[in-house]
């Protein structure tokens, strides 16, 4: 309860006696939809968003060309020491579709979440520093409704960013390498159509991986009135978490970090699919979304808008 609620009750009791003024049109049941669409359009029309998506579209091209040049020298791929993450790079020359998996594996640790961090950090703080937030709120957008619309638009952006990488990779893969039946990690060979379907499923799994960071960024965004500060804080958090995740001495905290299960998407290239890690990832992202979504709500609904 904000102090205003208690204080306002005195006036409210009196106001209840007098009748309402002119009737206000009842909000439609789809009350958030119009704002959500507007939110998405505004996000996607920002020059910054378009630049980030452009970078994401170019990365698979660079990877594709690099692989082409490397293998063109007759090296035959070399010994990929994949480590923990899957290194599909050796397979690309045989099947261009593997460029999708390679590109997602290459962008997931940093580039992809960075774009999400920038857009999420800017979501509320950017409008606060531009001053448009106060006009949205007196429209009245409603603080909860606005936050919901922003979070929903962020989720769409996560999917969109992932699809941009995947789609660009499919096109580049098809242009530079042969496409065909896919031999899964477990050794089974499936037709190209199923390969494409699995690529789509992987894109969705990767997008889900970004949800936790999106919620975290949205929360950071409610903390400050500066868009730049919120964006850099969110990206800074991402870098910090990735560094902590790479230090073996800190492995007790690793399972609680949002990138812990990120590479689980590779399991979608096995038959049958071992769902455990993928679901654990979804669960962890859900927990992050719930915790930081609630924190963002608690902060945003009580905050003074003074910009």
């Amino acid at each position: 309860m904000s102090p205003a609620d208690g204080a306002a009750s005195a006036v409210r009791a009196e106001a209840a006696a007098s009748g309402p003024g002119t009737a206000v049109r009842r909000p439609s049941p789809l009350w958030t939809l119009s704002l959500f669409r507007s939110e998405l359009t505004v996000t996607l029309r920002r020059w910054r968003t378009l630049a980030l998506l452009g970078i994401l579209a170019v990365l698979p091209v660079l990877i594709g060309i690099a692989v082409k040049i490397e293998t063109g020298g007759g090296d035959g791929g070399g010994g990929g020491d994949g480590g923990e993450g899957p290194a599909f790079i050796n397979q690309i020359t045989n099947n261009g579709l593997f460029l999708v998996f390679t590109a997602l594996a290459a962008t997931l640790p940093f580039f992809l979440p960075m774009t999400v961090g920038v857009v999420a950090g800017d979501a509320v703080a950017g409008e606060a520093s531009a001053g448009t937030l106060r006009y949205l709120l007196v429209a009245p957008a409603g603080r909860t409704r606005l936050l919901l619309a922003k979070f929903a638009a962020l989720l769409v952006f996560c999917l969109l960013a992932t699809l941009v990488v995947a789609l660009s990779a499919v096109l580049v893969g098809a242009a530079l390498f042969p496409l065909g039946d896919i031999t899964l990690l477990s050794g089974v060979t499936v037709p190209l159509s199923e390969g494409l379907l699995r690529a789509l499923a992987i894109a969705v799994a990767v997008a889900v991986s970004l949800v936790g960071l999106a919620a975290l960024g949205l929360f950071v965004s409610t903390l400050t009135g500066s868009g730049i500060a919120a964006m850099s804080a969110t990206v800074g958090l991402l870098i910090t978490v990735q560094i902590v995740g790479a230090i073996p001495q800190l492995d007790v905290v690793h399972p609680y970090l949002f990138p812990y299960h990120w590479m689980s998407f590779a399991d979608l290239l096995r038959a049958p699919v071992p769902w455990g890690d993928i679901l654990a990832n979804a669960g962890l992202q859900g927990v992050y979304a719930a915790v930081f979504g609630s924190a963002a709500w608690a902060r945003f609904t009580t905050r003074d808008i003074t910009s």
Partner: protein
Amino acid sequence: MDAPPTAGEPAVEARGLSKRFRGGQLAVDGLDLRVPRGSVFGFLGPNGSGKTTTIRMLLGLVTPTDGSAALLGRPMPADARRVLPKVGALIEGPALYGFLSGRDNLARFDAADPTADPATRRARIDAALDRVGLGAAARKHARTYSLGMKQRLGLAVALLQPRELLILDEPTNGLDPQGMREMRTLVRELAGDGTTVFLSSHLLDEVEQVCTHTAVMARGRLLAQGPVAELAAGARGRLVVTTPDAGDAASVLKEHGVTALSTEGDRVTGDPPTEPGTDLADLNAALVHAGVRVRSFGVENGSLEDAFVALTGEGFDVAG
């Protein structure tokens, strides 16, 4: 100094409204405000006197530390979703999406209002653009607008729906004289349609020109409120003497109980003596008797500025 009784609840009502910012700064201190329906209400105060903070509290952007506020008879911020669709606002200047056209800016803010019908959006946007005279520039990016155009687009946002109350925070701030005239004309037109206008300003003459009612703020406190004419009349007029012998005139006037004297070239002004029974004619006679050559002698009507000086004991330009 209460406003004359009007039908229904006031358009704006505040009781003991206070805001202390986290830094400890008391920006608004126990404000009791009553804005009658149908009035053009000038919320007058020098820079830093707490006008914007008050407006932010009225609109639910800032939580008061004490007191309560109601708009159109409903408590704020509790009833914000029911009240605000009937309220248009311009707060501390316009804020726009520079990368969107004027029209798309309006569509964006209209989409934020859950009571706004998307089916009529185009027509309402056209009407608002027409109203503020921005039809021709509607397709240009807002970032290319002049400040005057931005201000008008901001006003168009406030006019997207029929409103019962317009809250305009310093709507002429930063505009050139021509822009100020246009904005004041617009405000008068809107008020002419029966909309209650709550207009904050740090310009005395603006409030005198445009407003029917006023409230005077200084350092976060409300000093007075009521009809402009009543407040100005309440202030005592200033005695004005024009004479080539300004120095002598001042000393004679001082002897006869005139206070707060000031001399500017051949113009001597001061507050007339307060003791009852003093006739200004005697003052004039005394001047002539002392050999002061009087060109003109008279009392200038009280203005809002006099009222303000009387209330605060200081000039209007003193920042809080």
